[in-house]
Structure formats: C-alpha cells, structure tokens
C-alpha cells in the first residue's frame, strides 16, 4: 500500500515536471490521473518483473558493469531497429510480391525469465523481417512469423546468436 502511494506521488511529480508548472490545479489533476493509472495497473504491479532467483553469478557483477551492458544493449537494439527498417524498405520497394516467401518458424528458447522472454520477443518484432507470434505454454519455444524464409536455420542461428545471447547476459 505504501509502495502504491509512493508510486502515485512519483507519477504526480513526473506529471507536474512535464507540464513544467507547479500550481495547485496541476497537483490535483496529477493526483487524479496518477491514482487512476495506479488503480488500473494495480493487479499487474504485484507480479515481479525480474525473477531474481534466476540470477546465478550475482557476485561478480558490479553495478557499473551491468549498467554499461544495458547501455550497450540499448545501442545494439536501436542499431538493429534501424537496419530492420532499411531491410523492410528494400522489400517493400524492390521485391516482387511473388518472390517473397513468408512462413512461421519455431525457435527453441534458452531464456527462462518472464522479463527475458518479453524483451527478446519485442526485439524480434522490431528487427529484420520477423514478428513474434506466440510462446509455447512450456516456454521452450517461440514461434515467429518471418517475411522471407529463404533459410530457416540461418534465421534461427541469427536470433539465437545475436539477440538471445545478449538478452541472456542481462535477464537470464
């Protein structure tokens, strides 16, 4: 309960900072909006996003190294997204529609945590020619729709080596 009240206060502060005006009216509107948001999101807030028991080598990970890895990861993600857009542009502009070979392929998952799977699925959707469709109930497989399946194994390898390896380092 205290955490929720604190969350409402932080959201209200953010609201007023973004409005860049700190009047009583802003405070009241901010409190109302934040309370509504927290009330709606309440059921999901109790679910821990990062499963802490899955972090094996917590000791030799200093905070700074972890932070740097996150920065590198975000940079890598943005770079992949840029590449994805250029790839997509090339397909849309220059490929004949009869030449593309869409398909759904299964990829085995090594990432175990909820957060890891979420980040990986989002990254897959944002990057070249792939959209995540669903994760198997036993969480061992992710199914993706691929706009151009010329070589399913190459795509599988690419996602496992490039994306999953990086996600594993941060959120196993």
């Amino acid at each position: 309960m205290i955490a929720l009240i604190l969350l409402i206060l932080v959201l209200t502060m953010t609201w007023m900072a973004l409005q860049s005006s700190f009047t009583l009216a802003d405070l009241i509107v901010g409190l109302l909006v934040s309370s509504a948001i927290v009330a709606m999101a309440r059921n999901f807030l109790s679910i821990p996003f990062v499963n802490t028991d899955l972090h094996p080598q917590q000791r030799d990970r200093t905070f700074i190294r972890l932070a740097l890895k996150w920065v590198a990861f975000v940079g890598f993600a943005l770079w992949s997204i840029l590449k994805a857009n250029i790839d997509m542009a090339r397909i849309v502009l220059f490929r004949r529609v009869d030449d593309i070979r869409p398909g759904i392929i299964a990829i085995p998952l090594d990432v175990k945590s909820d957060a890891g799977i979420t980040v990986l699925a989002n990254l897959i959707t944002l990057t070249p020619g792939t959209v995540s469709l669903d994760v198997a109930t036993d969480r061992r497989t992710i199914y993706i729709h691929c706009i151009d399946v010329h070589d399913a194994d190459a795509i599988r390898n690419d996602i496992k080596q490039q994306f999953e390896r990086r996600v594993m380092e941060l959120l196993p």
């Binding site: 973004l18 869409p102 759904i104 994760v135 399946v149």
Partner: protein, 117 residues
C-alpha cells in the same frame, strides 16, 4: 537556414518517408501477416523521426524529454500490438498468402481455448 532547421527537415523527411513506405507496404504485400511487418517496423522509425524533428525544432529540454518519453512508449507498445494482431489473426484463421512456405505452428494450437498445447 540555421543548423537546427536543417536537422529538423532531415529528421522529419526520414520520418515521413518511412511512414510512406509503411503505407506502400500495406497496399503491396499479400496478406495480413506480411502487412503487419510493414506497419510495425516502418511505422516505428517513421514516428521516431517525426517526434525527434519536433524536439529539435523546439530546442526546449521539456519538449525533448516528452518526445523521448513518447518514443520509448512507442517502442514498448508497437511490438505488442503487432504480436497481438498476428496472434489473433492466426487464431481466427485468417488466410495466409499462397507463397507461404513453412508453418511450424500448424496443429499446435488448442483452437477452443486459444492457447498452445
């Protein structure tokens, strides 16, 4: 023209071009699943370009903070929208284009409950 005007123009142009590409993809690609690729990806970069252009144009830290927050939210939500669209389409049996070559998901769904076996 000042430097910030040039940067604004370049960013806005990149954004609008990618949105145009998303629209072309929407018309050109053969089925729902491939169209989601076009809008889900070209759309994100398009929005990013336009919002960054707004931030540079105003040259104001508060505006920039708002735009960066918007971009972050868009990057968080766009993939989920794409994923839910694709999944709902698959579950309700939307037809795939005839050139589709592979479907590892065939027969894996419990259609009545809408979840994977």
């Amino acid at each position: 023209m000042s430097l910030s005007e040039i940067i604004t123009l370049v960013l806005a142009t990149i954004g609008v071009v990618f949105m145009l590409l998303a629209a072309i993809g929407m018309l050109k690609l053969p089925d729902l699943y491939t169209r989601v690729h076009a809008t889900g990806k070209a759309g994100t970069l398009g929005i990013t370009g336009v919002l960054l252009a707004v931030a540079v144009h105003h040259g104001d830290l508060v505006v920039a903070a708002k735009m960066i927050a918007l971009i972050a939210f868009f990057f968080l939500t766009a993939p989920i929208a794409a994923h839910m669209l694709d999944r709902a389409a698959y579950l309700t049996g939307v037809k795939r284009a005839p050139q589709t070559v592979q479907d590892d998901l065939a027969g894996k769904y419990d259609m009545e409950q809408g979840r994977l076996r």
